[in-house]
Structure formats: structure tokens, C-alpha cells
Symmetry: C2
Subunit: 101 residues, 2 copies
């Protein structure tokens, strides 16, 4: 591992997207706000990692977390503008997948 002159923003973007489950979580949220269990049921990801990833994405400002004090509590996750701005990239991967896989 060495020093490079790689664009740090691209490196960070790839580090985000290139983290396991992140792409699929964002893809899932393109359908609109969803609660924790919905996402967990839609994807083959465990609650442990889903929680961890959502926390990272929230910290990076791609995802917003909203708590509804109902019974039992409801927590909804949705994309921010920054997160939704990745839709093009994700759709691109989606169409590549249908063409080439």
C-alpha cells in the first residue's frame, strides 16, 4: 500500500459505494422512505450490518433517519438530495446488470 495521487473525492465515493450492502441499500431506498424491517426483509442483509450501514450513510448525509413515536416505535429511512443524486449511477449499474449478467 502506497501513496498515490488519486482524487480523494473519487476514492471516498468508491469507498462508500464499494462497501458491502451500501449499493443495495441505496437502491432499495430509491423506492421511497422505508422502515428498518422493510429494508431488512427486502435485502439479504442482517440487522446488525443494516444498522451499521444506515448509520454510516446517515453520517455521510446520504440518508435521513426519522423516528415516529408510535407503538411500537417506527423508524423510517429515506434518501437525502445527496443520496438521491446517486440514482443515475445506481440505475446505470442496474441496466449494466440486465445487459451483461
Amino acid at each position: 500500500m502506497n501513496e498515490t495521487n488519486l482524487c480523494p473525492r473519487l476514492a471516498k465515493a468508491m469507498d462508500l459505494i464499494g462497501k458491502r450492502w451500501t449499493g443495495l441499500i441505496l437502491y432499495q431506498l430509491l423506492d421511497g422512505p422505508q422502515r428498518f424491517n422493510e429494508i431488512e426483509s427486502a435485502l439479504p442483509v442482517s440487522g446488525r450490518l443494516l444498522s451499521e450501514r444506515l448509520k454510516e450513510l446517515e453520517k455521510e448525509g446520504l440518508v435521513e433517519r426519522r423516528v415516529y413515536s408510535e407503538v411500537p416505535v417506527r423508524v423510517e429511512y429515506s434518501l437525502t438530495d445527496k443520496g438521491r443524486a446517486l440514482e443515475g449511477a445506481i440505475r446505470n449499474i442496474e441496466s449494466w446488470a440486465t445487459s451483461w449478467l
Copy 2:
């Protein structure tokens, strides 16, 4: 972890792209064929993982490996059509990175 009705092609695409370093390796190869050490120098990835990732990408048909029996040996990696078809997605991530990071 559970059973889902997630599109298996998208899942596979995300699994490929979403593997550490894969995105940056493909991005690097968009500049044209490059030898092992060039890629290793351009990215903060160790030889151990670069070798592993290139092998995976070759197996999936995104990257082609060509050996030149010179002294010392030269090995060049380049994108296949299938690999180059991801350029749009990668460029999309790149422009997102410059806009939002």
C-alpha cells in the same frame, strides 16, 4: 439474513462493484491497458489484493490479462467490452463525487 426476491443480476453486479477496490481498479483501467505495477502504483491497494481482484474480474469477463514474454515478464490488464460497458456508471459516480463530496 433472509430470502428475498431481489433481482439476482443486480445483486451480483452490486457484489462485484461493491467489493473493495474493484471500482477503482476498473476506473484506472478506463485509461487503457496497464501492467500490474502501474495499477498498483496508481491505487492505494496492495499487490496481494490487486492480484486477487484482477483474477476475479478476469473470471467474470470484465478484464483481460495478456502476458508478454519479455525480460522481465510484462503482464498487461485491459477492459473487455463487458468491463468497458461499466464506464457510464463509473463516470456517474465520479461526477457525483465532484458535486457532493
